[in-house]
Amino acid sequence: MEFRFFEIYRSSEYLLLLAKGAGVSASLAIGGGLVGFLLATLLAVSRYAEVPVLGRISAAYVEFIRNTPLIVQLFFVAFGLPLLLGYSWPFWAHALLALTLNFSAYFAEILRAGFSSIPSGQLEAGAALGIRKATIFRKVVFPQAVAAMYPSLNSQFIFLFLTTGVIAEIGVTDLTHAGLYIDSRTFRSFEIFTALTVIYIVMALSFKALLNAIYRSAFKWRTVR
């Protein structure tokens, strides 16, 4: 069998498709990750602080999202809800919403574990100094919890990034979509999926390196000796 990788890399059209696709995948993952993290913080805080009603709703939401497949959530957001609510957004907006909801539930569970992991001595020390509870949470619990859970958040993000390929199913021109398109045009399945694999690996490792760099600069106290 003869491999014909040049069919991909000699075609500026295909290279452009792959590059654009990688950009779309990265943007949606980062966007979903950031907004998802903010939403996750609200969810986790409402459960940690045992806010009446809201805490229960958060718990139900997290369980709901974590126990249904991403692709079903995606179809629900892209095709189900628009029928009910009558909105019509571009494909990428549907994808971003679905990814945000999905990311937020996973991050919320990690954050909640992080909040509970802070030794009670730290809370008592804050209380003994007369600092208000909200301030203790903001200035002591939250930063320590995020730092402690950072490796989990990091790997969860990479994992979720790699699952974003399913958004190609609703027509978003992401990296997987580009690969499927090129495959259907050239029938060079081995070559194109090898290329996709390499691009995904490079992107995932780049994200990891970036997140680690952020960790080292944001949480100096975890690394000083």
């Binding site: 008592e124 003994a128 100094l129 007369g130 301030t135 100096k220 106290w221 000083v224 000796r225």
Partner: protein
């Protein structure tokens, strides 16, 4: 015995469910006293301190500070240092102290700007010098030795200029050499700042070395069928003279001022 006692504890008991931790605790402490508290593990010494801080409330009886009932929550006039390092590990030495000032700021409804901030920084630097941490201002707790971390905890407590300083086995985790240094530091601060100090310790020699008065907590009533039925109380309350280091044997015989006979009248 002329001035009104700074702290008076009247027939205080503390129970958790069916378990009685403390009972019939009575105490009058003059301003500026250095009370060391000893007793077996789990006999309620820490609970007693936490009640003095208002982190716990007595199940019965009352505690008065300068003749008024103790406020329901920690106030700046009472500071505490715990045994385990209670400093905030994600903040530098300086930021630990800045956070400790949050209390005043939140009460003034706003952050301190300009002159206020400068004054705050000067005060923090002053405290750091006093406690011997001036050079470690920008270090994180993980970079400090155990003794330095405890000094930082003391600095946090002192920043509020407390009239009462509560110490819960503050030097329990330190090695003996550093402990001796910390004793000097603490006695110096106590004399300089004219505080009333309550210090829980497991080290009897430490208790006699530092205190002007020693309080012994112990259970005097036992029911083998119901080990939780009775709590500990103050069984010995002795004045100390720091000049003679060590427990004077003849004093132990005279120690009857335990105030345990007043019974449950609350």
């Amino acid at each position: 015995m002329s001035a009104t006692p700074k702290i008076s504890v009247r027939n205080v008991a503390k129970t958790y469910g069916h378990m009685t931790v403390l009972e019939r605790v009575n105490l009058e402490v003059e301003e500026g006293a250095f009370c060391t508290i000893v007793g077996a593990s789990g006999c309620g010494k820490s609970t007693f301190l936490r009640m003095l801080l208002s982190q716990e409330t007595p199940s019965s009886g009352r505690i008065e500070l300068d003749g008024a009932p103790l406020p329901g929550e920690p106030t700046p006039d009472r500071g505490i240092v715990f045994q385990k390092y209670s400093v905030f590990s994600h903040l530098t030495v300086e930021d630990n102290l800045i956070l400790a000032r949050e209390f005043e700021r939140s009460r003034l409804l706003g952050r301190s700007f300009g002159k206020g901030r400068k004054a705050a920084r000067a005060e923090i630097n002053d405290t750091l010098e006093k406690i011997g941490l001036g050079a470690a201002r920008l270090k994180y707790p993980a970079q400090l030795s155990g003794g330095m971390q405890q000094r930082l905890a003391i600095a946090q407590a002192l920043l509020k200029r407390p009239k009462v300083l509560l110490l819960d086995e503050p030097f329990g985790a330190l090695d003996p050499g550093i402990r001796a240094d910390m004793h000097e530091l603490l006695l110096g601060l106590w004399e300089e700042l004219a505080m009333t100090v309550f210090m829980v310790t497991h080290d009897i020699r430490e208790a006699f070395k530092l205190g002007t008065r020693i309080l012994v907590f112990d259970k005097i009533r036992h029911d083998p069928q119901a080990p939780d039925a009775y709590g500990a109380t103050i069984t010995y309350d002795l004045p100390l003279n720091r000049k003679d280091a060590g427990p004077p044997p003849e004093l132990a015989g005279l120690a009857v001022n335990a105030d345990t006979s007043t019974g449950a009248s609350a």
